[in-house]
Amino acid sequence: MLQTAAGASLALTVMAAPSQKAQAQSLTLCWAAWDPANALVEMSKDFTAQSGIEMNFEFVPWPNYADRMLNELNSGGKLCDLLIGDSQWIGGSAENGHYVKLNSFFDKEGISMDDFLPATVYAYSTWPKGSPNYWALPAMGDANGWVYRKDWFSRPALRSEFKSKYGRDLEPPKTWTEMKDIGEFFQGRDIDGKRVYGAAIFTERGSEGITMGATGALYSWGFQYQNPNKPYDMEGFVNSPDAVAALEFYKDLYKCCTPPGYTDSYMEEGLDAFKSGQVAMMMNWFAFFPGLHKDPVVGGDKIGFFVNPGQKVEASTLGGQGISVVSYSEKKDQALEYIKWFASPEVQKKWWSLGGYSCHKSVLLDPGFANTQPFAADFLKAMDGVQDFWQEPAYAELLLAMQKRVHDFVVADQGTAQEALDKLIEDWTETFEDEGKL
């Protein structure tokens, strides 16, 4: 009797299982908690309407995003079916089997990487770099840019004072030297009864902030991570005289022209500082510019944009992410459906219109693109000259070493720029030796 009952209940369970599976049509997408994520939520409603698959989202603020998601991936977590991971995670995720390789899927569905901007494919999808092995679909193009208070720059009194002091017009800077002049000009000035400051730049210690900011200067001075002819040969490149000059300049800018208490600030703090009318210029990711443009307090006519100034070369720090399928997910097929939907040109157009930076050529290379938004032209210019951090599997170690050395020098006044970069080479050499690359 007991055995029959057990057998019957087992049969019932087995029968019940498939129908349960059919009902549980939902996917979880993990990304950072920022403006574009909200746009994606909006847009994904189309996907749900079309496919019947519910979309759940897990958004984590940027300072905690890498930590949390890498921890999740390394523990084989099943939280995320789809992950819009940072470009630097590609190496580790590919080699450790966190991401599903998408080549066969792309071939089957006729998704061609030629439809996407080459710089984005290189940066967000491929590992090893530049090889036709795709681990993500380019989802969000991004680079580091600048915004400024166009309304302050237009004030006749300020313009004439600036002209008489510096001999040129008060306009968005073309070089870092020009930018420092503007920063000093505004630092401590009283505008509309409030004390304002020159610029809000990245100084965050914890995740990647100060590295992303300092590389904006480093790249403009022509910084290279390694000998182009000999991989992982860093001496003379990472600590070249130009690199030292760039890092010293970034520190000078930090010391002369930032608000008080600005020692651990990244994107969020920059937004707060700019929106509350505290600074004349702000460094931040292009991702935020649609939202800033729409801001009721500082948007519209009050805001202007400029690409990362050059110094010796024109260069910008690369941001941006690709969307990947997590290999620990139990809903890989449905996740791939989402990717297929996301890759279509119509969806890519809508993505841009809602504030997401599509990487699709049909959007970016459209002749009218530069006129769609005041920052569109600057975005194209930035993407033309982007440089990314190491994407090695050991990228986290490399990034954390740079965070420490740069923050120690720029914010905590330890040692000189030369010493910081020399120590950085030591750190990176140790890591590469561990990895067997050196």
């Binding site: 979880t28 909200n38 939520v41 949390r68 523990s75 937004l271 939202g291």
Partner: protein, 312 residues
């Protein structure tokens, strides 16, 4: 006590009272500030100089429980009129409620994991404490010190192998995994405290019961346990407070499913940086049970914080 003249003693007391009251008030200011910040609007909370006088609003509390999206004024016009007071509040900021935030779930996780681990550690702890108290266990002192020394490892250090272990066993980011871990950490506290409490219950009661024919186990259940209720309750609350406040393990070993409130509250961002009123609201809600327990536990506080080594 001394034989000082009465008025000198009185002024001594007054001075002491004055100094203590000053310290208490200064010490309480941060807590009051956080409580107040929960009722400020986001703009007020980041005003400089800080605002002492402001018009209170429930925005912080609404924000901590919801996710919202900003919409254009044109879109706002197309919506039907707001149905609830919080809808209205959010609409007044040109935003629309998109759904519940994760705070409720995190708070619930704190409750589940907190109470679960407390129950387990008190249960196992009471048994072990009784045995240590009543029986001659070989190496008793060493075992007791060993139990205490498990608390000397930095949580991060313990987390390294636990992370690997849980990854293998599939316990990462599960309620069960966290309950087991917190229980293991709390057991040391539970055993030390409960042994102290049980030591104070005279053995003669059990032995009288056993003369009457009860077995050791029955006399444990019928005689010792009822007497130990206060001690068990106090221990339970201390264990709960530890699990409730714990951060490092929750940060490293949990993610979407089992994450508790402490790693979550400092990540509540608004449209730029941290949404301070929401963070303050979340923190206030999280601290309220602890304040309540502290007041309830006043008599046993000393014992609890010294692992039972010091009793008033």
């Amino acid at each position: 006590m001394s034989f000082a003249p009465p008025h000198e003693k009185l002024w001594g007391k007054r001075l002491a009272a004055g100094l203590v009251i000053v310290y208490a008030l200064v010490s309480i200011i941060p807590l009051i500030w956080i409580f107040l910040t929960g009722f400020k609007s986001p703009q007020d909370s980041i005003s400089y100089p800080p605002k002492m006088v402001f018009s209170p609003t429930m925005e912080g509390y609404v924000n901590v429980f919801t996710t919202r999206t900003r919409q254009t004024p044109e879109y706002m016009e197309t919506l039907p009129p707001p149905e609830t007071w919080y809808d209205e509040l959010v609409r007044s900021r040109s935003m629309v409620i998109a759904g519940p935030s994760k705070f409720g779930q995190r708070f619930l996780n704190s409750i589940i994991i907190g109470f679960g681990s407390t129950f387990l550690s008190v249960f196992l702890g009471t048994l072990a404490a009784y045995a240590f108290s009543r029986f001659k266990i070989p190496l008793k002192d060493d075992l007791m010190f060993f139990i205490l020394s498990t608390r000397m490892m930095p949580p991060i250090a313990v987390a390294i192998p636990i992370f690997l272990m849980y990854r293998e066993l599939g316990l990462a980011d599960t309620h069960l995994g966290m309950i087991l871990l917190y229980t293991a950490v709390n057991i040391s506290l539970a055993v030390w405290l409960l042994k102290g409490f049980i030591d104070e219950i005279p053995r003669e009661y059990e032995e009288a019961a056993m003369i009457d024919g009860y077995s050791r186990f029955q006399s444990f259940c019928k005689v010792v346990l009822p007497q130990a209720t206060t001690g068990i309750a106090a221990t339970a609350i201390f264990c709960l407070i530890f699990s409730w406040n714990e951060y490092a393990f929750a940060l490293l070993l949990t993610s979407g499913t089992a994450q508790t409130a402490p790693p979550f509250i400092p990540t509540i961002i608004g449209e730029g940086g941290l949404d301070w009123p929401a963070v303050a609201a979340g923190a206030t809600l999280f601290l309220v049970p602890i304040v309540f327990f502290t007041i309830m536990l006043r008599k046993h506080l000393l014992r609890g914080i010294t692992f039972g080594a010091v009793r008033k």
